[in-house]
């Protein structure tokens, strides 16, 4: 919105910056202030006159220009421009001025510059350096009537404020609306625009107006004008339209746009002689009715679309876009001017359905899509008629206003205590009344409350809280004090799942893993790359109906793809990685929101050591291996005090190494999957062979989490025995462990530690040797050597019996 236009509507003597700041702080959000000359605002740039012009003594192509830019302010500049003459009025920039870089997009600060021995004190500027055009050939010659010595910004160019208004405030989407706000904030009166007095009489032979659906179109006014001469609109009007971002077309179209910008109410002009039956009808579209809109597209209308029609055909999509047939042409002399009120939701649906959100008619559709007051209709019509008379030679024939069920103005009861109740601030009734008065609200005092009626343009005021906000905006939100709440603190609930999750995070960070958080939306193609044959490892994902990109079009049903992607991207610049993520995966459920299953994902890949690249000092080089991923998960279970899952069957884990992975279930669902990534899958992701993953279902962990049981240290000494024995290669450790535990008996086996697994000539072909340490301790007595020896023999005998194990010395 051009500031000069606003100043025409409200007489406020403050700077643009203060105006913008005060509006902003009163809830009229200022997005930016655009000054002529860009952000620097033509600071230190003046209107100057070339008083003398001389040749540069040392250069043929340069001139010395003496510029006067005030009564006694003169400077000499060196210039290469050829279009200067003595007496020329130019833009002169002092040293220190910020200018647009003529050869780039940035700016630069002007410094004194010596050219061929003579210092140029400032510069005379081209269009491009001023930021008002692209010409950089010559110096911009200004209107000779401009006052020499004036700040350029004061006499040339237009400062524009861009607002970002909430959908509740269509009334403020106009110069008059911002003027009303300015008036209320600064306590200065508004200057209403000049209106043509209208009498509501119109010969039906000229034009009839009819509403067929008064919900879709509550109000429809029109004026009939003749003697119209189509031509360009006045320059000042065109400038304002351009400053507001609209393209000038012709006087009639420009006037409708001008009134829309000024008052917020869109209008539409028709060539009256081309209206069949001399009628304008607001009705719903007929089934399979078609319309060629102004953009040249033939549209099939929907039965819920509101159209403006004549007696034969639809002329336009009401409030959204006109049709080609009834468009104003150069030869038009008689116009029917529509000014109406439409149901906002219907306008929005029509705009969307026909894909017209960003179209040329969108300024009107955007306003009609909000709850615009019907009370604007007669005012805007009168203003447009006035401008058509003044600038298009039009004569008013008559006007009509169809408004079958006028909208009632709400009365809101505001108790004085509401202000303190909602704001916590002390605001006197007088002060509140004054704020409301300034905003154009009427109010009457009834004992402890006010009965408040908003101005008719304010469709957003319905409840006392709305009025409280209005008062607060005007007195200033700074009046709200800072106070700590009092009152009863609510009882809090425990959140076991979240507590366990946070403990898991602590444990994994404690293991030295880096936490990651990756996109919950992933590329569905990833899911086909988690197994060698592309078969899924998880149920089909939920799809997003309107994704931003294919790469983020499904909700992940597994964390694995995200972990692999993160690892692959990081391993381009490092040799090893140890990460984890705790996030939900999303699993579809019929007729319900998906199951958001919180999952712990761990990934180890590449080098485990050294921790820092190349730093093999004191540590060797070591790749992550199976025992690491197993150790991390086991360590997590120990740290969280987890009991066993109810199903100890080791199942295949799809996508992982067929003989280097397994999964476990609890309560019928997969609780736990871990192992080496299938090398073929690793290849697909360009990951090393040594890539290990674990995926753990948090809810299953919660199901087996137990309260820790205290162990009281026993004061009797422990006895230790080291045993080594040879078994067949296919005997798993778990079986050995079970047998040792069973055989230890009453001696009290406190610990069993695997010390080594040996394969080689001393064990024999197809055999391996386990070296273990068993620790015995009785809680009630010191064990004798004999007791310990007996227990050890029992263990050795059992191993011999079960596995044919030969005990080695």
């Amino acid at each position: 919105m051009p500031v000069s236009w606003l100043r025409e509507h409200v007489d406020v003597a403050v700077s643009v910056d203060e105006l913008a700041e005060r509006l902003h702080m009163a809830g009229i959000e200022v997005e930016r202030v655009e000054r002529a000359g860009g952000a620097a605002g033509w600071d230190r740039i003046w209107v100057g006159v070339v008083e003398a012009l001389a040749k540069h003594p040392n250069a043929d192509k340069l001139l010395l220009a003496t510029v006067r830019y005030g009564d006694e302010r003169r400077k000499t500049v060196v210039t290469g421009a050829t279009n200067l003459a003595e007496g020329a009025v130019v833009a002169y920039a002092e040293t220190g001025a910020t200018l647009r870089d003529p050869h780039g997009t940035g700016t630069f600060v002007l410094e004194p510059k010596k050219m061929r021995g003579i210092v140029s004190e400032g510069m005379v500027l081209s269009e491009r350096e001023l930021g008002i055009g692209e010409d950089h050939e010559g110096i911009k010659l200004l209107d000779p009537s401009l006052p020499v010595g004036a700040r350029l910004a004061d006499v040339l160019g237009e400062t524009v404020i861009a607002f970002e208004l909430p959908p509740s405030r269509p009334d403020a989407l106009s110069v008059a609306g911002i003027a009303r706000e300015t008036s209320a904030i600064f306590g200065v009166p508004v200057r209403p625009p000049v209106l043509e007095p209208l009498t509501w009489a119109l010969d039906p032979k000229r034009l009839t107006v009819r509403i067929e659906d008064d919900r879709a179109c509550p109000r429809f006014a029109a004026a009939y004008l003749e003697g119209v001469r189509i031509g360009p609109s006045p320059a000042w009007m065109q400038q304002r339209l351009v400053a507001a971002g609209m393209r000038p077309i012709s006087n009639v179209v420009d006037i409708t746009n001008y009134v829309m910008l000024e008052l917020g109410q869109p209008l539409h002009a028709y060539d009256a002689e081309r209206l069949a039956g001399r009628a304008l009808v607001a009705r719903l579209a007929r089934s399979s009715e078609t319309l060629r809109t102004l953009d040249g597209i033939d549209r099939i209308l929907r039965p819920s679309d509101l159209v403006i029609a004549d007696e034969q055909r639809a002329l336009g999509l009401a409030g959204v876009m006109g049709g080609e047939d009834s468009e104003i042409r150069e030869t038009t002399t008689q116009i029917a001017l529509e000014c109406a009120s439409f149901e906002s939701l219907r306008i929005r649906r029509t705009t969307e359905a026909h894909g017209l959100q960003g179209s040329s008619g969108s300024a009107a559709a955007r306003r009609f899509g909000l709850d615009l007051s019907p009370e604007l209709v007669p005012i805007a019509l009168a203003r447009a008629v006035r401008l058509l008379r003044d600038h298009a030679g039009a004569t008013l024939v008559g006007a009509t206003d169809v408004y079958p069920r006028p909208r009632p103005t709400p009365n809101v009861r505001l108790r004085f205590s509401d202000l303190a109740r909602v704001l916590g601030a002390e605001i006197s009734p007088e002060e509140a009344g004054d704020a409301l008065h300034r905003l154009g609200f009427t109010h009457a005092e009834h004992g402890d409350h006010l009965v408040v009626a908003p101005p008719s343009v304010r469709t957003d005021i319905a409840i006392p809280e709305d009025v409280v906000e209005e008062v607060a905006r005007i007195v200033g939100y700074d009046r709200i004090p800072v106070r700590m709440p009092t009152g009863v603190l609510p009882l809090h609930e425990r959140h076991p799942r979240e507590e366990l999750r946070e403990r898991a995070r602590d444990v994994l960070v404690g293991f030295g893993l880096q936490e990651t958080i990756s996109y919950a939306l992933i590329d569905p193609a990833w899911l086909g790359r988690l197994t060698p044959d592309g078969s899924p490892i998880a149920p089909a994902p939920l799809r997003v109906a309107n994704p931003t990109t294919a790469q983020q079009s499904v909700l992940r049903p597994t964390l694995r793809a995200s972990l692999l992607d993160t690892a692959a991207r990081n391993l381009r610049h490092r040799h090893g990685i140890g990460i984890f993520e705790i996030s939900p995966v999303y699993l579809q459920r019929p007729d319900d929101l998906p199951d958001e299953r919180w999952t712990i994902g761990i990934l180890l890949a590449g080098d485990a050591e050294p921790v820092r690249e190349g730093e093999t000092w004191l540590v060797g080089e070591r790749r992550w291996d199976w025992h690491d991923i197993l150790g991390m998960t086991r360590g997590l279970a120990d740290a969280l005090h987890l009991g066993p899952f109810d199903d100890q069957t080791r199942r295949a884990a799809p996508g992982l190494h067929p003989s280097g992975s397994f999964s476990l279930q609890h309560a019928g669902r997969t609780a736990f999957t871990l192992g080496q990534l299938d090398p073929r899958v690793a290849d697909l992701w360009e990951l090393p062979r040594e890539t290990y993953v674990a995926e753990i279902d948090l809810a299953s962990l919660l199901a087996v989490a137990v309260r820790p049981r205290a162990v009281v240290p026993v004061r009797y000494p422990a006895a230790r025995r080291d045993i080594a024995f040879v078994v067949a290669e296919d005997v798993p450790w778990a079986d050995v462990q079970r047998e040792i535990e069973a055989a230890a008996g009453k001696a009290g086996l406190e610990g069993l530690a695997l010390r080594d697994v040996y394969r080689g000539p001393q064990a024999g072909e197809g055999k391996k040797s386990f070296a273990v340490r068993v620790v015995f301790r009785s809680p009630t007595a010191t064990l004798s050597d004999a007791e310990v020896d007996r227990a050890t023999s029992r263990i050795e005998g059992r191993l011999r019996h079960r596995f044919g194990a030969m005990t080695r010395g």
């Binding site: 959000e29 007729d591 004191l618």
Partner: protein, 372 residues
């Protein structure tokens, strides 16, 4: 047969040799030679005892024991001296190069979003706000309708919603509504979406509980958004809600003031500016004075970069819960009122860590993550 005088001579010789012993090994050899169980000279002398006449035995025995005591004392003294000398040598020895790097320990770190959520929830927990979480995939009802944003409400445009593709009737309605923003009309199946804010948990919590309520809600949110340095399509929000009989905007200011002091340090100022949200009335945008330039907008290097030289950091939206939202969950707006606020977690993390680009949070480049 050694005489008593001979025993003394042995002791004297032993003492001299012990005093000259250079190390523990030599000392051990002397111990064996003089007082060793089998071969020791004093031991051997004692073995002679029974051969003596009974009258001489006490004198001889006492002399032997005295000699042994002398030798053992000398051994002990010398052993102590040798250990002390060794320790002295160790302490004074050429030190290892103390500037060598350590045996490197693997250090894990929390993602900055986790750090920030934990920090914020901890601060609000201190003010009696319980952290609760809710579903990321939501019904239209909780994300919009119950928050006073019915279908077709113009405020929906601001939320740039990502919708879940649904089967059968809903999918058809979605398709019929056009490609841009499907909006299902079916009454039998509700439209499902990716929540655009954490505010649905205001409704879900109030449905489950009676006042007083004080909660904060951290969580993942989604928007149909072109990404740039300050916008992400997947991001985290933190929401707060307090409902009681007497809570006003002044209390809201107090809570956020206390929060800002704890999070950013110093005596922060809180600024409210009128704003618009359909589910609060009155509504405000919250700003704190900048913790880097103390609200001046300037630092020694020029304009403050943290606050864009404005002196204020806008951080969240807030307001008094709309009476309509209270009514919908069965709270009597004549009796209960309260406030809510919500803002981006990443924004705070960016401010606290100097992270210049919001996309760094989801890119998981370890060079970044290990730095914060």
């Amino acid at each position: 047969m050694t005489t008593t005088g001979g025993l003394e001579a042995i002791a004297a010789r032993a003492e001299a040799e012990i005093a000259a012993a250079p190390d523990e090994a030599a000392l051990d050899a002397l111990r064996v030679r003089y007082v060793g169980r089998r071969e020791g000279e004093i031991t051997a002398a004692l073995k002679e005892l029974p051969k003596l006449p009974a009258a001489e035995r006490p004198v001889y025995g006492a002399a032997a024991n005295a000699a042994r005591a002398r030798i053992e004392a000398a051994l002990e003294a010398r052993a102590g001296a040798i250990r002390a000398a060794a320790l002295e040598r160790d302490l004074g020895a050429e030190a290892t190069d103390l500037t060598l790097p350590p045996r490197r320990v693997r250090v894990g770190r929390y993602h900055p979003i986790t750090q920030t959520i934990r920090e914020i929830t901890r601060i609000f927990a201190g003010m009696g706000f319980e952290a609760v979480e809710g579903p990321e995939v939501e019904w239209d009802y909780y994300n919009f309708e119950a928050l006073n944003i019915p279908p077709g409400h113009p405020a929906r445009d601001k939320f740039n919603t990502l919708w879940i593709a649904q089967e059968a009737s809903v999918a058809m309605a979605v398709a019929a509504a056009g490609a841009g923003r499907p909006r299902a009309q079916s009454s039998s199946t509700q439209p499902m979406l990716l929540r655009t804010h954490t505010s649905p948990m205001q409704i879900r919590t109030m449905e489950q509980r009676r006042p007083p309520v004080r909660i904060v809600v951290p969580g993942r949110c989604f928007r149909f958004e072109a990404t740039d340095t300050t916008h992400e399509s997947v991001f985290f929000q933190l929401e707060g809600l307090a409902i009681d009989e007497q809570l006003s905007m002044a209390d809201l200011k107090g809570v956020l003031y206390s929060f800002a002091r704890q999070l950013f340090g110093g005596d922060r100022k809180v600024r409210f500016r009128p704003d618009y949200f359909p589910f609060t009335e009155p509504s405000a945008e919250i700003a704190f004075d900048c913790f880097v330039c103390d609200g001046s907008g300037r630092t020694n290097e020029g304009g403050c970069r943290t606050c864009g030289a404005t002196g204020w950091i806008e951080i969240a939206g807030c307001g008094m819960v709309h009476p309509e939202a209270l009514r919908r969950v069965g709270y009597d707006p004549a009796k209960y009122q309260g406030f809510a606020w919500g803002g981006g977690v990443e924004r705070i993390a960016m401010l606290l860590t100097g992270t210049p680009d919001i996309r760094l949070f989801h890119q998981n480049d370890l060079r970044y993550l290990e730095s914060v």
